[in-house]
């Protein structure tokens, strides 16, 4: 496409029906709408329902949060497509192109934009913001725990920070790969022009953005006391902060559901000709499996949280044992969501990491079918293991055996991930660039996380380790050391494609070493705390645990420093790094075969897939993943 053509297009798009309200909607109008409607509903609540002494305040907060979420999304334009559809005013082609961001430069990143690459980038920035918030909270936790009787934070603030650190990180890790990369990269990988439902895609990002302020608002309305798992009845005892917390989750559930459906339908219906299921890159499989598992897990989250809001704002008693309720109901439904959710977090980054291993080892994926089977197996088993979080709760002790079985069974498919990783790098031409650094770190961390996981799966051992720092260290090894490091590998891998710039590898490697070492120090010390018997989520502790807490805090500072250096490398390279070639890693999958920056609709020619994307070292004809060009080739010829 020539510049003149582009200009002409932009003029048509921008000129048509310019000045319509929805063309001026952006993040700012969203804030305005959210604050406005939130305030209105708050006012309404104050004058109507606030008279109830037991739950009036919670009712008002519920209304305010409802106002914020709906108002923000109205303001930013999330519901425009729905409203247009109801009114029967289908958008013109120019409007659709406008919504896809044509001719709006960088401002389109602040808008409801249907281009999957813009949505992916918006997700990426949101993930950075969330990790920064969560990381800062983590630093406050570690600072509090530097000394046994620290009064850096009050117990209430400490609990609030622990809870919000947890939930911020859970939200961030759920979307860290399925947001940026399943949106930006995955459709290109399968040769699609966009996601199946671009408007739903844009909706998913803005809905999730509206979920963040309620989470932060919890700090200003008393704080959440009960940890990220918010076990009832403690969370029912909490103030209106719990309502805000629940609202965050309810909103988040909408976003994840919509995004999951979109991912699934995209892969089911939008693959390029020849992209059979057995040729699909592992990352695409991982996105699909993660999305499907999210679809299973999110309804349970929604149920738990709506019941929580109901207990708070209407006085029901789902979790209040004095009126027939039960904390076990909360715990069961929470973990029916919670354990699949762990794999919603883990599977997509692992898929991304497998792409990294194959590309940088210059070898085909080892045992491709097994790893896909393993991911499906993990997903299937993960819905049957939830009660291993509840071994010590007193709920159904007779089920300890079955849940021990399912939990330990899951280590078989998890082991296959290792088999495929080492099989792929075995005797490869291992090109150790930054993504590979993180890949190797993942292997080590995930071994530690996995082995400590089998201790915890064993009921007699869990009777000692449950609720203590051992568990904390274990899940940080799997989710931070495992999933998040794998996601970082993916980020470094796809950075040139997403930003059009090369990542500053020297700074990146400095960050890597800080992260790698800081991480081990932090969490090995926490394992030791757990072995010795230090409980989780305590603001102060017995002085016998002092030395290892100091070590852990110092490690955490180093770890955070590493992330900040990495963030610096990312931001500075994004702004002024050297321009990336289209395929800096000589990779074979489709996203590297198109231009950088990726044009609207991704490919200038039609794509036909002829082999899988892992033909490294194969005969020449097997090395070709896809061929380009079709009947419209002639037209393109004019443009070049």
């Amino acid at each position: 496409m020539t510049t003149t053509q582009e200009r002409r297009l932009e003029d048509t798009v921008l000129g048509s029906a310019a000045g319509r309200f929805y063309r001026h909607q952006n993040f700012g109008t969203g804030l305005l709408g959210g604050v406005g409607l939130g305030f209105l509903l708050w006012l309404l609540g104050e004058y109507t329902v606030n008279n109830n002494p037991n739950y009036g305040t919670d009712m008002v907060v519920t209304l305010t949060m409802l106002g914020w979420v709906i108002g923000f999304n109205l303001g930013v334009g999330t519901f425009n497509a729905v409203l247009h559809w109801i009114l029967g005013h289908d958008q013109t082609k120019e409007d659709e192109l406008y919504a896809a961001g044509v001719g709006q430069g960088k401002s389109r990143y602040w808008k409801y934009c249907t281009d999957h690459k813009v949505v992916g980038t918006q997700y990426l920035i949101l993930v950075f913001v969330l990790f920064f918030i969560g990381g800062t909270l983590a630093m406050m936790i570690r600072t509090q725990l530097l000394t046994p009787n620290s009064s850096f934070l009050s117990p209430q603030t400490y609990n609030a920070i622990v809870s919000i650190h947890g939930m911020t990180m859970i939200i961030a890790t759920i979307i860290m790969v399925s947001g940026p990369f399943a949106n930006f990269i995955m459709p290109i990988m399968i040769g699609a022009k966009d996601m199946a439902f671009p408007r739903l895609n844009a909706m998913s990002i803005w809905v999730i953005v509206s979920a963040v302020p309620p989470l932060m608002a919890t700090f200003f309305v008393g704080g959440v006391n009960a940890g990220w798992t918010t076990y009832a009845p403690l969370s029912v005892q909490d103030g209106p902060a719990m309502v805000c917390f629940a609202f965050t989750i309810i909103t988040f559930v909408v976003s994840v559901t919509v995004a999951g459906i979109n991912t699934l339908i995209t892969v089911l219906t939008m693959r390029a000709p020849g992209m059979t299921f057995s040729r699909m890159p592992v990352f695409v499989w991982a996105s699909v499996i993660g999305g499907a598992l999210g679809l299973y897990a999110m309804p349970a989250f929604l149920l738990d949280m709506t019941m929580m809001v109901s207990d708070h704002a209407t006085g029901t008693s789902f979790f209040v044992s004095a009126q027939g309720g039960s904390g076990w109901l909360w715990e069961n439904v929470f973990w029916i969501m919670g354990h699949p959710e762990v794999y919603v977090i883990l599977i997509p980054p692992v898929g991304a990491l497998m792409e990294v291993f194959s590309t940088f080892s210059r070898k085909p994926m080892f045992a491709y079918k097994m790893i896909i089977g393993a991911m499906i197996g993990i997903a299937g088993l993960s819905i049957m293991v939830w009660a291993h979080h509840m071994f010590t709760t007193g709920w159904a002790p007779d089920l300890a055996g079955p849940f021990m079985l399912t939990t330990e069974l899951i280590s078989i498919p998890t082991g296959i991930i290792f088999l495929c990783a080492i099989g792929t790098m075995w005797r490869g031409s291992n090109w150790v660039r930054l993504p590979m650094y993180f890949g190797f770190l993942f292997i080590w961390n995930f071994i530690v996380g996995g082995v400590t996981g089998i201790y915890l799966s064993d009921v007699p051992a869990d009777d000692y380790f449950h609720g203590n720092m051992f568990v904390t260290a274990h899940f940080h090894y799997t989710l931070l050391g495992g999933a998040m490091i794998a996601a970082t590998a993916g980020l470094c891998y796809w950075f040139p494609k997403v930003t059009g710039r090369m990542l500053d590898e020297k700074t990146g490697r400095a960050a890597f070493w800080l992260i790698a070492i800081g991480f081990q120090v932090t969490y090995l010390a926490q394992f030791y705390e757990g072995f010795k018997g230090m409980p989780r989520r305590v603001a102060n502790y017995d002085p016998i645990f002092a030395p290892e807490n100091v070590v852990s805090s110092i490690g955490a500072y180093v770890l955070m420093a590493g992330w900040i250096v990495l963030l610096y490398a990312l931001v500075s390279s994004w702004r002024s790094g050297s321009i990336a070639p289209a395929n800096p890693w000589s990779a074979k999958s489709l996203e590297w075969q198109t231009l950088t920056p990726v044009p609207l609709e991704n490919f200038l020619e039609d794509v036909t897939v002829v082999n899988d994307a892992y033909g490294y070292g194969e005969r020449a004809e097997l090395q070709v993943h896809a061929v380009f060009g079709s009947t419209s080739d002639a037209h393109h010829g004019e443009g070049h």
Binding site: M1, Q5, L9, V82, W85, I86, L87, G88, K93, E96, L97, A99, A100, V102, T114, D115, D194, A196, F197, P198, R199, T257, G260, I261, N262, L264, I265, L268, T269, L295, Y296, M298, P299, A300, L302, L303, M307, S310, D311, T314, G315, T316, S317, F318, S321, A322, Q323, G324, G325, S326, L329, N332, V333, I336, L600, E601, L604, S632, H635, G639
Partner: protein, 220 residues
């Protein structure tokens, strides 16, 4: 615009798909959404049975114990009266589920008519009215309940079911409103698959409503 340009620049949210392709995509998406909603429904019903079986401290259908004679014995009197929470009469619960079913069947009829190319907008209008009546009936049932939310877990679960039905009916109304309006404008004269989507969704809401009604009526 020339054909060349059109190929280069179309970005229309899948609008270069044929109606058949869009139908397939949107129906698949709806089926997935219903699958997620079904998990919600199953868990909701499981929660009902779980709390009913636990009956923690007799709290399923017994509201808080009150002292036998507060004036003389004070709050420490062990002789207390426990109030049993009244069961809801099945009438309105059945009516609401039936209204959702009627709305779904009407949408089905409208779909058939659209297929045949005969009038379908009025039938969709009727479906919309029926769905609105369902919402009205549900709101009315809230007014006449023989208990309040604070009367134990039976009351809590029952009202939760009602809330769930209400939320689903709201989505039905949104969908039927759009479909009716578009039908009224003649937008479904040739491509009518969205009526089918509305029918599938409305019927699903009816089915889930029937499940909830059966649970609430027979297992109080």
């Amino acid at each position: 615009m020339s054909a060349t340009q059109e190929h280069d620049v179309t970005h229309e949210g899948g609008h270069h798909d044929t109606p058949e392709q869009r139908d397939r995509k949107e129906l698949s998406a709806l089926v997935l959404f219903i699958a997620g909603d079904a998990i919600f429904l199953i868990l909701e019903i499981l929660a009902w049975f779980y709390l009913r079986a636990l009956d923690t401290q007799n709290g399923w259908r017994f509201s808080k114990a009150t002292p036998a004679n507060p004036a003389t014995s004070g709050s420490n009197n062990p002789h207390t009266i426990v109030h049993e929470v009244a069961k809801v009469a099945p009438g309105w619960t059945i009516v609401i589920a039936a209204l959702a079913l009627i709305a779904g069947l009407a949408a089905w009829w409208a779909e058939g008519n659209a297929r045949k190319g005969v009038a379908h907008a009025p039938i969709l209008a009727a479906a919309l009215v029926v769905a609105l009546a369902g919402i009205g009936a549900q709101v009315y049932q809230f007014q006449i309940l023989p208990f309040s939310t604070t009367d134990g877990t039976y009351a809590s679960m029952f009202e939760f079911f009602m809330g769930s039905v209400l939320a689903h009916l709201f989505l039905v109304v949104v969908v039927l409103l759009g479909v009716w309006n578009r039908a009224r404008k003649g937008m479904y004269n040739e491509v009518w698959y969205q009526i089918r989507l509305a029918r599938v969704w409305t019927l699903w809401v009816a089915i889930s409503g029937i499940f909830l009604a059966v649970t609430a009526i027979f297992f109080a």
